[in-house]
Amino acid sequence: MQSLYRPGNSLVHRVPAGLKLALLAALGVGLFLTGSLPVVAGAVVLVVAVGLLAARLPWSALLVQVRPVLIWLAVLLAFHVLVTDPRTGAVAVLRLLALLVAAAVVTATTRVTALVAVVERLASPLRVVGVRPARIGLVIAMTLRFIPLVADRAARVREAQAARGASRVGLGIVVPLLVQVLRMAATVGEALDARGADDAPARRRLARAAS
């Protein structure tokens, strides 16, 4: 998600994030309630059309999220062909494909901040038991932010070990990476303090700049 948002001003971009997530959830439930091949095939056509025409996304924005799981869809189809029947396999594959494309459309047209704001709203009833929804939102945003960073640090550790003759890195990466991540976490904690994370109002007001 951290690199999947495509700025734009289409109708789909303007739909509130909460509504998009609700429609995505409804689509998921609906697709799993039906076993009709024409319906799930129609759903695929519909979400692709929404992505390309209504959201004005390029093919690449949809493919980038679908491509990594194509192999698993093929395995799923082959499994059903061998164990059940081709029609059931087609329904299962198209069902997942429709959901994947729909999720791609949502992530490509919705800023992370807006999605996080929805999560914060959903978590707001937890306030009565002392949970701070803003903290949950911040954790999600920071997770998305730091996944590529930790991956980058892991790659550097791997390179450093390879440069010193390690032919297979394996679990040897864990300790140095953990040390780096913990050190970085200490600085991130300071940065959060310095940037007023503790000053956040009880109900975080997300800036329009990032919504």
Partner: protein, 243 residues
């Protein structure tokens, strides 16, 4: 005493008399290891540099100035506000830019990260939008507004980190080795940005040329201020000392 042009938001803030940053007999220890001993000084200058060998206490000193680190003994006052008891107010007045911008950028995309600090301060959304647009434009990041932060270059990340502090409108900014991880071109660019800032700045750096034109330079040695004066005097003293 020379003050810079004050940021607009602070002119609207409740006034606290600007008396500078004062350290009184400050000692700081991490467990048994004492990293600062008996530091007493007042910073009222517009541009203050801090230099010294690794482990001399520079970074701890910098963190004391906005309450990120509290003194084990002694007191740090920012415009009369004690960092130990008025930390939030102090941090609103004193911004902090870290050496590694990756540790300072906490949101996935550029604009979202810029909005983080002022959102925490409770700044109205339209004002945040205005400030974010302003710094994006000023630092050549306008085209990167919705880009993932991790895809920016090192120089752009450091500019984003600085911009993330500027949108909070502090009246002083502490920089902890802001150019250490940058190549020459980006280091010069960041140096120019610091030079043009209207805020008072305290810059910890190993890049001595960054401190050209500063009003005052402190040299730290073994947790103490070993030299204190204009850069024309302190920098050559330090350079000779380092051999």
């Amino acid at each position: 005493m020379r003050w810079g042009r004050r940021p607009a938001a602070l002119e609207e803030a409740p006034s606290v008399e600007r008396t500078g940053i004062e350290l009184r007999d400050v000692v700081h220890s991490y467990g048994d290891r004492t990293v600062l001993t008996g530091v007493s000084l007042t910073l009222t200058e517009r541009r203050v540099g801090v230099i010294g060998a690794n482990g001399s206490g520079k970074s701890t000193f910098a963190r004391l100035l906005n309450g990120l680190v509290l003194p084990t003994e002694g007191t740090v006052l920012v415009d009369g506000l004690d960092t130990a008891t008025r930390a939030r107010e102090v941090r609103r007045r004193v911004g902090f830019v870290f050496q590694d911008p990756d540790a300072q950028i906490v949101h996935p995309t550029v604009a979202e990260d810029l909005a983080f600090g002022p959102t925490n301060q409770g700044v109205p959304a339209d004002e945040i939008e205005r400030r974010v647009a302003d710094v994006l434009d000023r630092y050549g990041l306008a085209g990167h507004r919705d880009h993932p932060a991790h895809l920016l270059s090192g120089g752009q990340k450091q500019l984003l980190a600085i911009a993330g502090v500027l949108v909070m409108r502090p009246e002083r900014i502490v920089f902890d080795e802001p150019t250490t991880l940058l190549d020459l071109a980006n280091a010069r660019r960041v140096a120019r940005v610091i030079e043009e800032l209207p805020q008072d700045v305290v810059v910890v750096s190993h890049h001595l040329e960054l401190l050209d034109g500063f009003d005052r330079v402190l040299v730290f040695e073994d947790g103490r201020v070993a030299a204190d004066g204009p850069p024309a005097e302190t920098v050559p003293w330090y350079t000779a000392r380092m051999g």
